[in-house]
Symmetry: C2
Subunit: 413 residues, 2 copies
């Protein structure tokens, strides 16, 4: 850790991080695999939508002129010369003065120019009585009226949700180029750590950071994997990092930046690349490591306290994942809320406190703090649903004043 | 389709649907597999958090009394009798008048009752000079201060995000009982349909509904599968439904409810269970089928036009999926927005129009309509990001008036 007194600001460190995040080459995926991702090509359709003139209703295909002056008193009565089903593979035709029964979606027969709905007729089988004048083009969906052949369907950067995937399917695309999910490999370092499911002996701590950060990275849209625990051991850490480098777009470690253990991490990293350890003017999360290993794979070395790790993830790693995903907006939305209690914050540091955000009946938000300043408090962290941001120059928030809140909204997946 | 004039209201049909949705037995999943789901058990911890008294700082463990009256002018100078590293497997001890170097997270040695941070000392190796009085308990994280052994950690119904998974890991739980993702099987019916990736001949239509509905169901939190296309053929449909029944918590079909084809679907369904076909007072989405097949597996028969299918999914199927997930709030949030243009709606029907929601610089929302009334318009559907709801009794929305909007926010996954 550099020992000069000047701390880097949160914004400066974030800028350094984002400068160090490149991009991932687009890949081709099947439609359902590309859900939630951004399109990486301009898609032009080579078929029109609809593909052919078809009926918008169950009814009768007619020529509009054959219904001229029709009325309930004096209906046009037309012979019904056949049925057109959806899925008809060839175009039927009919002469003047005739009608055909037609299903929704079925091709309009040659010779017809309109459809009259079943409900507006006597539903005749051999002949049909039509009680009103039909307008040419009525209930006909024209080929290409939704999208002409050769027209742009979706542009690069479009987010692929259900409707966009449906459009791609409709124009016959079963695979598209997308920006892939960044592969994020998460490593917990520390000789005190044991795997969940084993009973901790005295001095041992069950690893929870790798779950925390892998889940948060997945929530941010990454393809996140929990590598697991690595002891504060130079050779082991080197070995794990080298292996994971080959399958990572981002590496994240937590822990190992305190006295003693720190040197192990720092030495192992220096053999594989360049990682800068910085003190950032924030609380929690002051010690931050960021750099690149191997062939420019970004690595984040986050502090080991769970609250510090989560805050560091939210402030620095999440925007990096979103940049790799191609998202325009890298940051979570914030809301303004009324602080329900007083809070203190050290001058010159941006403080992130865990909070519980409440929606007021009157429409606004209020927020209460949970968990105090201790960044080891996992249970209270689990009861929070937001981060309260107290800016660098603010040293006291009085109850009733407005604060900026980052709701930690969860994805369903 | 029943021919009586009385349409069922949207709210009546939704109530019928939700009445017909039961629950799924909880299952045990590993932590990361349970992300995004709701806990189905009350979790009590049988270990305290932290597990043992440990240091909150890198520094020196001391007895507070040994620093009485210490000041920069007259520091307490204590012999350093050892190091305590994080991961130390047995508890060290020290006598009165001594100090030990200690890492963040390392166990407090017996005999010490406080920690002084490295920065507040001369960082001595053999002996350390301490410039101020230390308070007993300072920088000590007490065993159980976050969570006592035997205390409730998380209650049934808690949503499992990163922080909650971290807590479960920290208390040693590697698996938990959760409400599983409902398995939703999606079938497109229609003899005109072909698989995406094949060139449509005249009269053929590329299936897009199964992508649309499978993606929407996944977005809603389901484990959704696209079964694919089934022609309007009694035996084939029966066969597919019987097979899927065994692996479904919800079945969804689209199409096959228009004249002719309708009978095929209806007959096949009647052999496997009871499905009621209803006309609902909404636009689009009037024809709706809902019932149960086999051993009470709910089935939704949605109309075949993509826009109708999506609206029907949003209004009826999404709340059903969320009920099975155990969510308290079954419905999407709505916002009020200023309509940027005039819209008409038939009296007595609730109309759902596709729209583009804009966030105004002044803070509110405005919404413009896209795609007109045609429910076959897939390209315009893909350009929308919300549904505009026009209530049953409203026949005209004038430009500038306020309307209710359902933003179709997408999950990342």
């Amino acid at each position: 850790m550099a020992d000069d007194d000047r701390l880097r600001t949160v914004d400066e460190h974030l800028a350094t991080v984002l400068d160090g995040i490149g991009s991932i080459d687009p890949i081709e995926l099947t439609l359902l695999d590309s859900q939630g991702l951004l399109l990486a090509e301009d898609v032009v359709t080579d078929v029109p939508l609809p593909g052919f003139d078809n009926s918008a209703m169950d009814g009768y295909a007619v020529r509009a002129v054959d219904t001229r002056d029709a009325s309930p008193e004096s209906p046009s009565v037309l012979p019904v010369v056949g049925d057109v089903a959806a899925g008809a593979k060839s175009r039927s035709g009919m002469g003047p003065g005739l009608a055909m029964r037609i299903m929704t979606g079925a091709p309009i027969p040659a010779g017809a120019d309109a459809v009259i709905a079943l409900e507006e007729t006597d539903r005749g089988v051999a002949r049909v009585a039509i009680n009103r004048e039909v307008v040419s083009g009525e209930h006909v969906r024209r080929a290409g009226e939704d999208l002409q052949s050769g027209a742009p369907a979706l542009g690069a950067g479009a987010a692929l949700g259900p409707q966009q995937l449906a459009l791609l399917a409709a124009i016959g695309r079963d695979r598209v180029m997308v920006r892939p999910r960044p592969r994020v490999q998460v490593i917990s370092t520390g000789s005190e750590l044991i795997e969940v499911g084993h009973r901790a002996a005295f001095g041992e701590v069950t690893d929870c950071n790798s779950y925390l950060i892998a889940a948060a990275a997945k929530d941010a849209g990454a393809d996140a994997r929990r590598v697991g625990i690595v002891a504060d051991d130079h050779a082991k850490l080197l070995d794990v990092l080298e292996t994971q480098l080959l399958r990572a777009d981002i590496l994240v470690t937590t822990g190992g930046v305190s006295m003693g253990a720190f040197d192990v991490v720092k030495e192992a990293l220096s053999e594989l690349g360049t990682v800068e350890f910085t003190r950032v003017a924030m609380q929690p999360g002051k010690p931050q490591g960021f750099g690149h290993l191997g062939d420019r794979v970004p690595i984040f070395c986050l502090p080991g306290n769970p609250v510090s790790a989560l805050v560091s993830f939210e402030v620095f790693v999440r925007p990096a994942i979103r940049k790799l995903l191609g998202k325009r907006n890298l940051h979570r939305a914030t809301v303004q809320a009324v602080a329900l209690e007083r809070a203190e914050s050290p001058e010159g540091r941006r403080q992130y406190r865990r909070g519980v955000l409440h929606r007021e009946a009157t429409g606004g938000y209020s927020v209460s703090l949970v968990g105090g300043a201790g960044s080891h408090l996992i249970a209270s962290m689990a009861s929070s649903n937001c981060l309260v941001v107290i800016d660098e120059e603010v040293t006291e928030v009085v109850a009733g004043s407005r604060v900026t809140v980052i709701p930690l909204l969860l994805s369903n997946r």
